[in-house]
Amino acid sequence: MNRLGALAAAAIFAVTLPFCLKPYGIYLISMWAVLTIAAIGLNLTLGYAGQVSMAQGAFVGIGAYTVALLMQTGCPFALAFLAAGLLCFVLGWILGYPALRVQHHYLAFVTLAFTTLVFLVLRNEEWLTGGTYGINGILRPVLFGWSTRKPLNFYFFSLGVLIILSLATWWLLRSPWGRAFVGLRENPLRAASLGIDTRRYTLMAFAIGSGLGGLSGALYAPLVQYIEPGSFGLSLSFNLLLMVIVGGSGYFFGPYVGALVAVLLPEWTQIAEDYYLIVYAALVMVMMAFCPSGILGLIDRILKLAWRGNRPAPALRTEGASS
């Protein structure tokens, strides 16, 4: 009941907030909604399948360029949106397949390499991507005669997509597939002995996560209306990774909280303007040392202490150490 109450309060807040904000504030919360989608995808990979992906930023980039380029040829937004998600899903599958054949941390390295490769292609293939100049003048979509050109409209559009994708993820995690994901996280060895093909499910979690990254990019392009390769380098992937961790990896609402911290806090706390990233990085390190399960893990722990429960909060799992 408590949880439902908190959810309802958050929903009311998300709907009423933009009416009290200036256009830049609305832009920021739209960015929050868009990046949350990418973080939800990464949470599937990291929080549920226990694999570090450093390519989520690259998938956001691929999604953004797909939509921008397809819309230039006159393709309707809805189709371009789906194409972006599908392309990233397929690329994620192809990329994850070799890496997940090998145990240990190879997915991290392969995705690191992939992000750099994507950046090079976006920068060098000028005939397609416009090179370092990027693509500008990306139009915001018109849906059933409802234009999302105004910031407020685009925010509600992004929020709507976020809610739909959240429900889909929620459903996925309740389905037998999702149960298998959780089984992987809790105890890979037991999952394997129950007949779950762990490698296939890990790959699936990574591919779906990548697909969500693509969908996030598909909204990113019309939100910022100007995209260039530099936006989708390693730093975006790192930021998304930190978002998931800070919010609480493996918690359903972790990405929402993490994205909130990463997107809105730097703008709202003007105190440490220049040193924000240093403080942020230091806080992440402190958090990893004392509470690797993130902000939601911390809240969980405090609530449990308050209720005098003595079950430890779920810690961040590693794929190798627990097998």
Binding site: L242, A281, P292, T318, G320
Partner: protein, 291 residues
């Protein structure tokens, strides 16, 4: 042909620097299962320590000495005590995240507290070319090669010929057994962190005159170190050396003969190929999984 020799030598020099970085990286992995994602930033930073020392009026050699000492304290000792030790009990993944955050911290600190502009860095020797069979070989490349070979030889001697080095190897291979044999395992692990700090400081001194000291240098250098380590074999010091040299030579040759725009892409393609075909690396052995 002469241009080929020139490219080869400068490629070997770059590769030798990559090898130093990759060796430190694999040492940390072997003794403490630390995948140091801040390794690139570790190479970027000592140059700034040295520049800061020179700004205080110290002559170059003294600044180098100060820089190396600060590197050992900060990137070796403090890194081990403050960042790695509290994380070890959680396993590999949280430590990976923590080193990523640490790399961000180091990068932003260099930018905010020193400068966001690329800083010129004094070279060890004046840049002149020597004529070797018609190929103009730069003295800088030769110095880099000489220093790197010296460092690697010294390390090899330390690891395989001294009691201390053999204790460190034992620690890497089987910490439990090493402890039973009376080897102070924690101290040995600490020594590898200190050695890594020295290696990155040397790499920093060698590479900064070429790339200039810039806070973003760590990104490419870190990637090069991971790639070299994986190509050569994650669990072998020899592998890291081979991987580094292959990477450096390939980098220079592909930039000259195939495409300079995609020079960064070839090592990555090789990385993916190695992971596909020979995941344990060229010289690596298949790692036994601990249960």
């Amino acid at each position: 042909m002469s241009s080929f020799v020139q490219l080869l030598v400068s490629g070997l020099a770059t590769g030798a620097i990559y090898a130093l970085i990759a060796v430190g990286f694999t040492l940390l992995w072997q003794t403490s299962q630390t995948i140091n994602f801040a390794q690139g930033e570790f190479v970027m930073l000592p140059a700034f320590f040295i520049l800061a020392g020179m700004n205080w009026g110290a002559p170059f050699w003294l600044a180098v000495l100060i820089g190396v000492v600060i590197s050992i304290v900060v990137l070796g000792f403090l890194f081990k005590i403050i960042v790695v030790d509290p994380m070890l009990r959680y396993g590999v993944l949280p430590l990976v995240i923590s080193t990523i955050a640490f790399s961000l911290l180091l990068k932003e600190s260099a930018k905010d507290f020193y400068s966001s502009q690329a800083q010129p860095f004094p070279a060890l020797v004046p840049a002149t070319d020597i004529d070797v069979f018609g190929a103009a070989i730069s003295t800088q490349s030769l110095t880099v090669l000489a220093v790197a070979i010296l460092a690697v030889t010294a390390l090899h001697f330390l690891l395989s010929k001294t009691r201390l080095g053999r204790s460190m190897q034992a620690t890497a291979q089987n910490p439990t057994l090493a402890r039973i044999l009376g080897i102070p395992v924690q101290r040995m692990v600490l020594y590898t962190f200190l050695i890594n700090a020295v290696l990155v400081a040397i790499a920093s001194i060698l590479i900064s005159p070429i790339y200039l000291a810039k806070f973003t240098n760590g990104e490419t250098l870190g990637l090069a170190a991971f790639t070299a380590a994986i190509i050569g074999g994650f669990n072998q010091v020899r592998g890291a050396i081979l991987g580094g040299v292959i990477l450096g030579v390939l980098d220079n040759l592909s930039a000259a003969y195939v495409s300079s725009q995609y020079r960064g892409a070839f090592p990555l393609l090789i990385l993916i190929a190695v992971i596909l075909l020979r995941p344990q690396g060229l010289l690596g052995r298949v790692e036994e999984r601990t249960v």
